[in-house]
Symmetry: C2
Subunit: 152 residues, 2 copies
DNA sequence: TCTCATATAACTTTATATGTTACATGATGG
DNA sequence: CCATCATGTAACATATAAAGTTATATGAGA
């Protein structure tokens, strides 16, 4: 199954933005992400509605961070994307008349629910700031002489 | 994203088979599952290789359970299906040169891994026999006067 | 008013789960 | 033996959704 990588993508964008003051055009971000500007606008739209980023049109426009990185968790970002389903597996039918299937669904649902809850909880423990710090640490150990530039 | 329902489907088949002695033809099972016989053969192939079911050709042939239901867990069945990926989300790129993406991946991977581990652990706690017992309990409370037939 | 940049709808591409058809193989019963 | 039944499997078709692309509208500077 093709795996949704919007969360991974959005975090990538946000972290890039956190390394230097904005604004960043969709085209710039798209190049860094090796994708299309429209894709960037699409995944950023949810974040804008919630106020994590702002967008400006025209000359000197683009995307700007508008949140406290230490207060936004990966869970928050996930929710801003519309809380897409986390699991690649599901029940064959959700409200089956077949009692066998009901028994199967009940068992699977419990396991699925627990796993989802744990994942959301873990995402809620990590802030964007923690990610940014981790990035800078990686940058430091790779290029001890400076940290103004980094490969995309 | 479309969710994989092979596990749900296989369990459904196995539980149906557990309610009465076999063998069952792919066509019979397909009707009960509202799908195609070839689909049944496809999802049963993995189980046969591991020895959870047997298949016989020709007259009187079909699929037969060949395992101790109390010893086979949902995790075992999942593995027999080839251990398909459990999560609907993944990293944009797995081995990125970008340090930002490495930081993102590291954080997500940890959360993803923990959730997968929990899910597998939960699946490992449930045996086919437990599911079968649960089914019979549901059947009993719905049709107290007998338990030879059930809706599909 | 020209250029830049976002906003968004519509469309295309790609991946993959699922469904279907066709034919081969082997087992059983007459 | 040979007709029938059933699995085994490859090949093809369909459905759905993620991701990419194109086109056009809108608004903000210079």
């Amino acid at each position: 199954m093709r795996r949704d990588s919007k969360l991974s993508g959005v975090l990538h964008v946000l972290l890039h933005m956190a390394q230097q003051p904005g604004p960043f055009t969709s085209e710039t971000l798209a190049k860094a992400m090796d994708t299309n500007p429209v894709v960037i606008r699409r995944i950023m739209a949810g974040l804008r509605e919630i106020g994590y980023v702002r967008s400006e049109k025209g000359h000197g426009g683009g995307w700007t961070l508008a949140c406290d990185l230490s207060k936004v968790t990966l869970r928050d970002v996930y929710d801003a994307l519309g809380s897409p389903s986390l699991l690649a597996m599901g029940n064959r039918t959700e409200a089956p008349g077949c009692l066998v299937e009901q028994a199967v669904n009940a068992a699977l649902d419990e396991a699925f629910h627990d796993a989802e809850a744990l994942l959301l909880s873990r995402l809620g423990e990590v802030t964007l700031e923690m990610l940014s710090d981790d990035f800078r640490k990686r940058l430091g150990s790779r290029k001890p002489q400076g940290m103004s530039a980094h490969r995309v």
